[in-house]
């Protein structure tokens, strides 16, 4: 058991990772209530790795990404755990000052949000908004910035850069805007790009283009990607590793290949079943029965999936399972794997 654990830890070793999230919990703290919405999340994103987090809305995937950026809304805060960024130096993001964090955002870690339609300030030209990033983080001259900007637009597939420079967001299509946003995110050559549902709001045809673009660019720029999505299809297309989030916890973590070939957690199985039923055009669509619990219900409910789990046992309802290793590079948070696997975390 101990041997196995070391092997796993080695595979996830800090030396080769860009970002390490350890035991991250995020709590809502208002006068009336106090509870965790994200709990005990562990992730390691390797250099140049494309990592996916998949989960339904409310699973805490977006909050996790916002926590990395230190952009959580006022009522939420990181209550436990650490987020370490390894660039030239290791930095503990949860402990940085505002000023230090501002230096990292857009520079070392960039983020792309879901809604390209509303993610740009409607009152400023594309030029202003694109070059703004450079202004925040570099000392280039105006001319240099323009050149860099045009170059970057070119890279995201916008050839009429000069024209687009003068445009305002509302004059561009959704796909164009998302390209601009990607350009903004990559212009400072960040080590990590967080993409929160970058294609959800786009037409299907454009979705593929944008995903390809991100793939290509991350390779040419040596950028790791953290892809946040509810869509397993996107994960399959872009990612190498994946974490499945449910009700604020990681349920399963493995390579994409293993996830699709050997899903271990009943939740993942359910998810896969539902998209396959979609693909097969069978008469009935499969959906996981029941509802996602609300954060207020998390406490004392044992396994958070237990209420919807087809394999639920007595223990599931009373005691929370640990993460068990199912096979190499594959963990699952389910009592079913207690026997076969190694618990950690």
């Amino acid at each position: 058991m101990a041997k196995n654990l070391t092997a796993i830890l080695k595979g996830r070793g800090t030396l080769n990772t860009v970002l390490d999230i350890k035991n991250l919990s995020i709590e809502v703290n208002t006068k009336k209530s106090k509870y965790n919405v994200v709990e005990g999340v562990n992730l390691s994103i390797g250099k140049k790795m494309k990592y996916g987090i998949v989960g339904e809305s409310g699973s805490g995937k977006s909050l996790t990404s916002l926590a990395i950026m230190n952009l959580l809304p006022d009522v939420l805060k990181v209550s436990k755990g650490s987020i370490t960024l390894n660039t030239e130096k290791s930095k503990e993001l949860t402990k940085l000052s505002k000023r230090e964090m501002q230096k990292i955002r857009g520079n070392e870690i960039s983020m792309i949000f879901q809604e390209p339609m509303t993610a740009l300030d409607p009152l400023y030209t594309i030029e202003h908004q694109l070059l703004e990033v450079l202004k925040f983080h570099t000392n280039y001259s105006k001319k240099e910035m323009r050149e860099l900007g045009l170059d970057m637009l070119n890279k995201v597939g916008i050839s009429r850069g000069k024209e687009i420079f003068k445009s305002y967001p509302h004059q561009l299509s959704g796909g164009m805007r998302q390209r601009v946003i990607i350009a903004m995110a990559l212009i400072c050559q960040p080590k990590l790009l967080i993409a929160d549902e970058p294609t959800t709001a786009l037409d299907v045809t454009i979705q593929a283009q944008i995903l390809d673009l991100m793939n290509d660019l991350s390779e040419t720029h040596d950028t790791s990607i953290l892809m946040i999505t509810h869509d397993l299809g996107v994960i399959l297309e872009t990612c190498e590793r994946v974490a499945v989030l449910y009700a604020g916890q990681v349920m399963e973590e493995t390579t994409v290949e293993q996830l699709f070939t050997n899903p271990s957690h009943p939740y993942t199985q359910g998810l896969l079943k539902s998209i396959r039923s979609l693909g097969d055009h069978k008469n009935t669509l499969y959906s996981i029965p029941g509802n996602v619990p609300t954060p207020a219900q998390y406490e004392n409910m044992g396994c958070r999936f237990s209420s919807r789990c087809p394999h639920a046992m007595e223990i599931c309802k009373s005691k929370e399972p640990s993460m068990y290793t199912v096979e190499k590079d594959h963990t699952s948070k389910c009592w079913l794997h207690e026997e076969e696997g190694v618990a950690y975390g």
Binding site: M69, G106, F113, L120, P122
Partner: protein
């Protein structure tokens, strides 16, 4: 754009026509006439009749209206019944004062309100927010004539200060001019500030929740850039609407403050006009104020399109 402006200008015609009709006929319903107020307690019937004839008040009322409107169309607002002086030059020189006062008040209110609104908006539901809201509403809650009187008294009693007497134009003597206008503008500005603070606060609140603010933060912007370059500019449109409305209201609403601070503005002209039944003066001034009011609305609308590239007028 030009076509739009032109169309808007054309739309002003019925409104101004309506204003002219309303004010003209309303004035004629008010009991009392200029002849009686001029002659006061020494009036004789003959003298009254003579004066009325001089002013054309013996003509049928619709004829009086047509005569007046005919003049106004050709830019002739007529002469004051009281002083016999041409009205338009008087209106414009007094308008300059009222306008300066209005702008200065607006300016003071922005200086007070916008920072307060931003602070309250950023720190929503904090003690600071609470304090700002109460303080800014306090400004709106004091009748401004009371505030003005208290201010005058306190300054005179405890600081031996009173503003210079006798209005001087800005271009004659800017320093004296500003000394004269500072207190009245402060009073009006204080009462305007509440609404602007409120609007700034809620717009900032609203804007700060929008996605693009998160994008800007994610780009590594300093909080100052987020607030002032992005949030505030986006919040300016509703703020501008409020400011535009207030400037419009102030142009006709400075009457009391002008009287207390002895400023020879348009408000006083109208008030004395009403008191003395100097119809031509009141009609002319009200029409003028209404014109400026609708023009300000138009200017605010045009300003929108400069502030917000999404707004275009065709």
């Amino acid at each position: 754009m030009y076509a739009y402006i032109l169309r808007r200008l054309l739309m002003l015609i019925p409104v101004l026509f309506g204003v002219s009709v309303v004010i003209f006929f309303t004035l004629r319903i008010i009991p009392g006439d200029v002849a009686a107020t001029i002659l006061g307690t020494d009036a004789t019937p003959e003298a009254l009749a003579q004066l009325r004839k001089d002013f054309g008040l013996d003509l049928p009322i619709y004829e009086q209206y047509l005569q007046w409107m005919g003049g106004v169309m050709t830019g002739d607002f007529g002469e004051s019944m009281r002083t016999g002086k041409e009205i338009l030059p008087d209106i414009s020189s007094r308008f300059a004062i009222t306008f300066e006062l209005t702008m200065l008040s607006a300016f003071i209110s922005w200086i007070i309100a916008i920072p307060l609104g931003i602070i309250a908006g950023i720190k929503r539901n904090s003690k600071t927010d609470f304090g700002v809201r109460v303080v800014s509403l306090l400004g709106v809650s004091i009748p401004n004539f009371a505030l003005a009187t208290v201010l005058i008294l306190v300054l005179a009693l405890f600081f031996s200060y009173s503003p210079p007497v006798g209005y001087v134009g800005f271009f004659e003597d800017p320093i004296t001019n500003l000394q004269i206008l500072f207190l009245p503008a402060l009073v009006l500005g204080t009462s305007m500030a509440g609404a602007v603070t409120r609007m700034t606060r809620s717009s900032i609140l609203e804007i700060l929740r929008l996605d693009f603010i998160r994008t800007i933060r994610a780009k590594g912007a300093k909080e100052r850039v987020v607030i002032f370059q992005h949030a505030l500019r986006n919040a300016m449109i509703p703020i501008l609407t409020i400011i535009g409305m207030q400037i419009g209201v102030l142009l006709g609403g400075t009457v009391i403050i002008e009287q207390i601070f002895s400023l020879p503005g348009l408000g006083q002209l109208v008030l004395t006009g009403i008191n003395q039944r100097d119809f031509t003066v009141v009609q002319g001034s009200v029409l003028f104020i209404a014109f400026v009011f609708v023009m300000i609305n138009l200017i605010v609308d045009i300003l929108y399109s400069y502030l917000d590239p999404r707004i275009t007028y065709k």
